[in-house]
């Protein structure tokens, strides 16, 4: 109890600093701050990670979209990519394009995405710093806790009560396809020195910025963007209750999966407690637990695990938990009695360093830092839009 209160107090400070203090104390930042604190307290006191994480990510995704589109209208007067923005390299740098940019840069010293290097929240350097921090800390947890696109799929996947299409028997094939699509994008980026994901396959063009339709190829591209958005962000998540774009197409997700071993947290399955009920495999939105994972007693999800907490919440045996990647090495070095407290104070500190709490705290902090500016801006735009609409309606 004391640990939960302390962590809630610490989170209140984090939220105050990053949301209210940094973006100006006003009614909007206070409301958003209170909302974040409510989610964190609910999460830590109920132990229900996924439920409150999903609410956070969905709200963040919606407010991000409003903020991003609003900013585009402020800067360019339209959502369409202008020639000027292209020539001046002023396209906001999206994290999805990081993997397809790195190898061409390493080989040719060419940045294939026309974005600002510094001096903007969506500049290349700021996104790279955020990515590296995420890779070292929460790893692929980025996709569940900080990605402003993933929340849309999380929202749509929560609409239906039951899965209409069961993807569990095909989980392995889905993972293969995801990494194949990732390899395809990397190889094409290297061969054509351009991000073909942005040119032809990005579903988020529809809610961020798009190429104006001026010829047949741009018409085809827009048709593909719309189809991919509808199929992978709306229809399939509703039917399968999975994050299908994240687990089949997203190049950033694939890269984070490959880099996840460097992160300090991982999800572990206690094979002694596990009764192979497959509930975890069924609810995993990233197809990271399949039948083989359980029957072969692998002891942990596959590398596409995004630490969303869905399996932890649903497991009836409480056999799934978050642990530090160095836990086993530490226990081996320090002996099995390292976590046996002698006093109340020692117990308090051991509870405080419980990987589940530390992970929740660090992942949520990441979400707070990433979301604060965009979400509060989105709220401001949403409220002023609603007020204007009401005024117009009144007149």
């Amino acid at each position: 109890m004391a640990v939960k209160v302390l962590l809630s107090a610490l989170m209140a400070f984090v939220i105050y600093f990053f949301t209210i203090s940094m973006h100006g104390a006003n009614i909007i930042t206070w409301i958003y701050g209170a909302f974040l604190l409510y989610l964190f307290i609910s999460m830590i006191f109920t132990g229900n990670i996924n439920k409150y994480r999903r609410i956070f990510q969905f709200v963040f995704a919606v407010l991000f979209t409003i903020s991003f589109i609003g900013n585009l209208y402020d800067e360019r007067g339209s959502m369409a990519i202008t020639q000027n923005a292209l020539f001046e390299s002023e396209i906001p740098f999206c994290h999805l394009v990081i993997p397809v940019s790195i190898i061409p840069y390493a080989l040719t010293k060419t940045i294939i995405f026309p974005a600002r290097i510094t001096g903007h929240y969506a500049a290349i350097v700021s996104m790279l710093v955020i990515w590296l921090t995420a890779a070292l800390t929460i790893g692929r947890g980025w996709c569940s806790w900080a990605c402003f696109y993933g929340g849309l799929e999380d929202g749509f996947s929560g609409i239906a009560k039951k899965q209409k299409i069961k993807l569990l028997p095909k989980s392995k094939e889905i993972r293969y396809f995801h990494f194949a699509f990732f390899s395809f994008l990397i190889l094409m980026g290297v061969a054509f020195l351009s991000s073909i994901f942005c040119e032809w396959f990005c579903p988020f063009k529809l809610i961020t910025e798009f190429t104006p339709i001026v010829d047949i190829p741009s018409l085809i591209a827009t048709f593909i963007f719309m189809s991919v958005f509808l199929i992978f962000i709306v229809i399939l998540p509703i039917l399968t209750k999975k994050r299908t774009q994240c687990s089949m197409l997203c190049p950033f997700g694939a890269m984070q999966s490959l880099l996840d071993p460097v992160s300090i947290y991982r999800v572990a399955i206690d094979t002694d407690k596990c009764t192979s009920c497959m509930q975890c495999a069924s609810v995993c939105p990233f197809n990271a637990i399949d039948i083989d994972t359980i029957t072969q007693k692998k002891g942990r999800p596959e590398i596409t695990c995004a630490k969303c907490g869905a399996c932890i919440d649903v497991c009836p045996q409480k056999a799934i938990k978050i642990e530090f990647s160095f836990s086993k090495a530490l226990a081996k070095k320090c002996g099995p009695n390292i976590l046996n407290p002698d006093s109340k104070l020692q117990k308090f500190f051991i509870d405080l360093l419980n990987p589940k709490y530390v992970f929740m705290f660090s992942a949520f902090t990441f979400g707070v830092v990433i979301s604060s500016m965009l979400s509060t801006d989105g709220m401001r735009r949403l409220i002023s839009g609603l007020l204007s609409a009401l005024q117009l309606g009144g007149n």
């Binding site: 080989l107 293969y176 194949a180 699509f181 290297v190 061969a191 047949i216």
Partner: protein
Amino acid sequence: MSLWSGAIQSLLLGFSTGTYCAMYCAPVLIPLVTGTDNISLKKTGILTSLFLSGRMITYIILGIICAGAGLLVSSFFDPVFARRLSVIAYIFCGAILLNNSFQKMKKKNEAQCRGLKKISVFTSNDYSTAVLSGLAVGLHICPPYWATLFLCSQSGSALYAVIYFICFFAGTLPFFIPVFALPFAVKKLPALKKIAQITQLLIAVYFIIFAGIIPLFFYK
């Protein structure tokens, strides 16, 4: 320009821009080698050699054409023509890779029908795919390739053209050494084979539609 200085110039041109050659070839060669059955160092060597031989044959043919045409080549061989050539090469290469991917998928069924198997051996096995896709990739004309073609047309001699392009080709070879790491990677991670086969299918479709048909019909 003497034969030797032209040859050295071609070798250095190839060596200085071999990264780009490898970058053009990577989408074809890497999935083909990684996705092949019973991968080994020997098989990787054979597939890579066949692919590179195909590429060299195209180089030499173009070199001889340019040498034969002499400086007249400039009247028809412009960047627009080169781009069209490249687009057609993508469609051809995409079709070869697509066929190879489909044949790999159908392999089990095909094994039951020997007659069909015999017919499709040439068009679908990895060795012939390596040669044919190599021939197609050799049609992607990059700036150093232009420079070597110019040397050939300036020399006016087919022999010179052959030597220039062998030297140019030799200059690019060191950049393909990393391909020999693939068998080790596949042995450590067998899933890579399946992933590579799907990647090849995606690349084939992209070559045909997005790098081939769309530019051919809709870009000026």
